[in-house]
Symmetry: C2
Subunit: 445 residues, 2 copies
Amino acid sequence: MQLIQYPAQQQWAALQQRAAAQQAQDVEQRVQQIFEAVRQRGDAALLEYAQRFDGADLASGLRVSPEELAAAVTQVPSELQTAIRQAHANIWKFHATQREEEKQVETMPGVSCWRRAVPVQRVGLYIPGGTAPLFSTLLMLGVPARLAGCPEVVLCTPPQPDGSVNPVILFTAHLLGIDTIIKAGGAQAIAALSGGTESVPGVDKIFGPGNRYVTAAKQLATRYGVAIDMPAGPSEVLVIADESANPVFVAADLLSQAEHGPDSQVILLSDSLTVLEQTQAEVQRQLAALPRAAVATQALTESRAILLRTPEEMLYFSNQYAPEHLILAVRNPEELAEGVTSAGSVFLGHLTPEAAGDYASGTNHTLPTNGYARNYSGVSLDSFFKKITFQRITAEGLLHVGPVVEIMAEAEGLQAHARAVTLRLDAIHSASSTPTASARPAAHS
Amino acid sequence: MQLIQYPAQQQWAALQQRAAAQQAQDVEQRVQQIFEAVRQRGDAALLEYAQRFDGADLASGLRVSPEELAAAVTQVPSELQTAIRQAHANIWKFHATQREEEKQVETMPGVSCWRRAVPVQRVGLYIPGGTAPLFSTLLMLGVPARLAGCPEVVLCTPPQPDGSVNPVILFTAHLLGIDTIIKAGGAQAIAALSGGTESVPGVDKIFGPGNRYVTAAKQLATRYGVAIDMPAGPSEVLVIADESANPVFVAADLLSQAEHGPDSQVILLSDSLTVLEQTQAEVQRQLAALPRAAVATQALTESRAILLRTPEEMLYFSNQYAPEHLILAVRNPEELAEGVTSAGSVFLGHLTPEAAGDYASGTNHTLPTNGYARNYSGVSLDSFFKKITFQRITAEGLLHVGPVVEIMAEAEGLQAHARAVTLRLDAIHSASSTPTASARPAAHS
C-alpha cells in the first residue's frame, strides 16, 4: 500500500482515480462473433462453445435434469446447507421490507392516480463457474427475483469438464425453486438469454457478474432491447478509520477486498498516522497466511493509505470517490453515515465486516462499482419490478383537470391533445343538459 | 390506418413490430466530434455551436441572468401561469406519495440492516426548444428532482435566434426554483453536462427528450460515467376499445399521439368491427381540422387497427407489444388493468385521455418506448435517488451471523473473507473471558 500524508485538495482527483478499464477491441469483436453464432445456430452453437471453452461434452443436453438437481443436494455438506438456508432467510427478510404498497391518490376530485409494481416477466441470472462457484451471488439475485414474483427465471452457469454443474450452485437453485438451469457460460450464455435458443428462453433483463467477455456481452445485449442490472467493474472498498479502529480488523477487511482479484481497488483513509502504519504492518502479517496471497499482493500495490485531517475531509473524499463498499471503522459511525451521499453499501462500526454483507446479513452484494455509486443503486427488489402508473378520471375529474390540459396543450402547439379533452368536455356538458344523459356513451367515466 | 381482421397468432409479431430505429452512423460521428470539441474547448465551443446551430449570438453569456428570469414571468399569460401551477401541484402530490420511509430490520438479533434514499447530487435536465417549447417536460423532470432534494439541478435548453430562452420555459424553471439555466441545445448541451465547462456544471445523471442527435449524445454520455433516464424512441399509444367505446374519443386519442411526429406509433385493438370502422371514419373527419394534420397523416399510414376476438387476446397482444401509453376504453377497465404486465402508463375508461397524463393529472409523462416497458419504468421520484444500504452488527449479532459467513466464504474459496469474521469472533470471545473486556477496542460494536 502506498502511504500518502495530507495530500493537497488538487491531488485528490488523482488519488480517486481507478485503473483504466481495459476495453480491448478484440474482446468486443469476439463477443460479437459469439452473438451472431448463437443467434443463427442456437443450441448447436452453445454445444460447440461448451466443448471448446469448458471442455465439456453436453450430448445429454444443455439443461440440468431433475435427476441431476436431486442428486446435487446430497453432495453438499449439511453444515453448508444450513449456512445457505440461514443466509437465504436473512436476505429474504431484508428484501421483503422493500415491498411498497400501492397508494392511490386523488390529485384533484375525480382524478385518481396510482402506481403498481409489476414483476419483470422473464429474467436471466448468470452465475460464473470455475474453481469458486459464486452460489452467494445466486442467492443475491434469486431471492429478490422470487420475492418480486418474476414468472420466468432462467439460470445460466458454465458446465464443468465432466458436463455437470457445481452441486452447491444446484442446491442453491433448488432452494430458490429455480428449475430452468442451462449449462452455458461466458458470452454465449448472455447471447442465448438475450435472444433465446431452442433450449434457452429469451429474457427481458439479465443479472449477474462475470469476466470481461461476460461484461462486454451484457453491454451488447442492451442493443437487442434487453436490460441489464448495472455496468460492471472490479470490486472496491474504502475504509474510513479513526483512532478507535482496530488495525487487525481493518487489515482483514482490506485483504478480503484485495483477494477478489488483482484489479480490486482498496483505499484506506484515516486521521491517525498510527492506525495507518499499524494497519500496513498488519496487512503484511495477515497476507502471509492467505491462500490467495499472490492475487491480494498485486491488488495492494495499486492501493492507497491516505492520511487526512478530519472526519469531514474523509467523508468528502469518500463521497467524491463513491466506493462500492464503505466501511466506517470509527467511534460514532451513525453520525458519519448521515453524511454519506455516494456509496453502494455502508458498514458501520468495528464489528461489521464487509464479508457479512457479501454473504449473509441480508443486504444485497450486487453493487455499483467504478464510481457508479454516484448515480446507480445496488440490486434490490426494485431491480425485478417495473413501476407502472395508472389513472382514472371521472366526469367531475375531467371538469377539474380538463381546462388545465387544454391551456397547456395549446401553448405547446399540440391541438389534437387539447381536442381529446375538449370533445369529452363537450359530451359531459351536453349529457348533463339533457334528461337522457345516462344513456349516452360519453357519460361513462 | 391499416385494418387487420383476426390475424393468426403467428402474424402478431409482425404487427407488433416498430419501425426500425435509424441509427445513422453519421449522427454518431457528428456527435462524437461535438463531444470532443466541448470537452477540449468548453464554453468557447458552446458559443460557436449556438451561433452555428441556433443562429444566436451569446456574447452576453451562456447563463440566463436573474433579470432575464424575472422578466420572463411577466411575458406568460396569467391563464397559462395558473394552469402550470395547477399541473405542478398535481405532479408534486402524486410524486410525493412515492417517498419511502426508511425501515430498519433486524435480520438476526444484533444484525441491523436498512436502506436510505439519497438524492443523486447533480442532475441535468435537457429541454428541447424550437416552436413548441416542452415546458410540460420540465415540470415532469423538475418536480421529482426537487422532491428528491437533488442539491444541484442544471437546466439546458437551446437559445432562440435573439439569444433569449422561451419565457414559458423560464417561468416554469422559476416556479421550480431552478436558477442554473444554460443556453445550450442539442448534442453540445449533453456534452457540456457530461463533463462540465467553465459555465456548465458537470452532472451525474441526465434526463430529457430530444432529437436523434440528443439521443445519440445521451448514449455517448454513458461512456463517461454519466447515467441517463432511459433509452429513447418515438412516442406510442395502444388503445383497447370494446363495444362500449366512443369512436369520437378513441379517434381523438389516436390523433393526439399521431400529431407528435411522423414516426409516432399508433395501434388500436378492438373486438368490435363497428368500433374499428367508426373510429377510422372519425379519424379522417377530425384530421381535417388539425393544424398538424400532415404529421399525423404520415404517422397514421404506419398505424394499425386490429380486430381480435376477446379482451384476453387484446390484453395478451398489448403485453407483448409493451406500449408506452395504454388506453383501456372498455366497460370494466379496472378488471382489464389487473392483467397489464408491460406498459409505461395506463389510462382507464372513456373519460381518461392520454393528454391528461401528458400534462396535468399528476403522473409522469417520461415513459419507456420501443418495447422497453417490458424492462424499464417511467421516470419517477426513484429516478432521482440512489438507494444505499447500511448495516450495523453488534457482538451478539456477529456471534449469530459470523459462523454462517465463515462457512460460506470458505466454500467459495475466499479465506480472507472468512478471516475478517474469525479475527473479530476471536476478539469477542477473548474479551468476554477477561474482566477488562470493555477496555479493548475489539469489544466496540
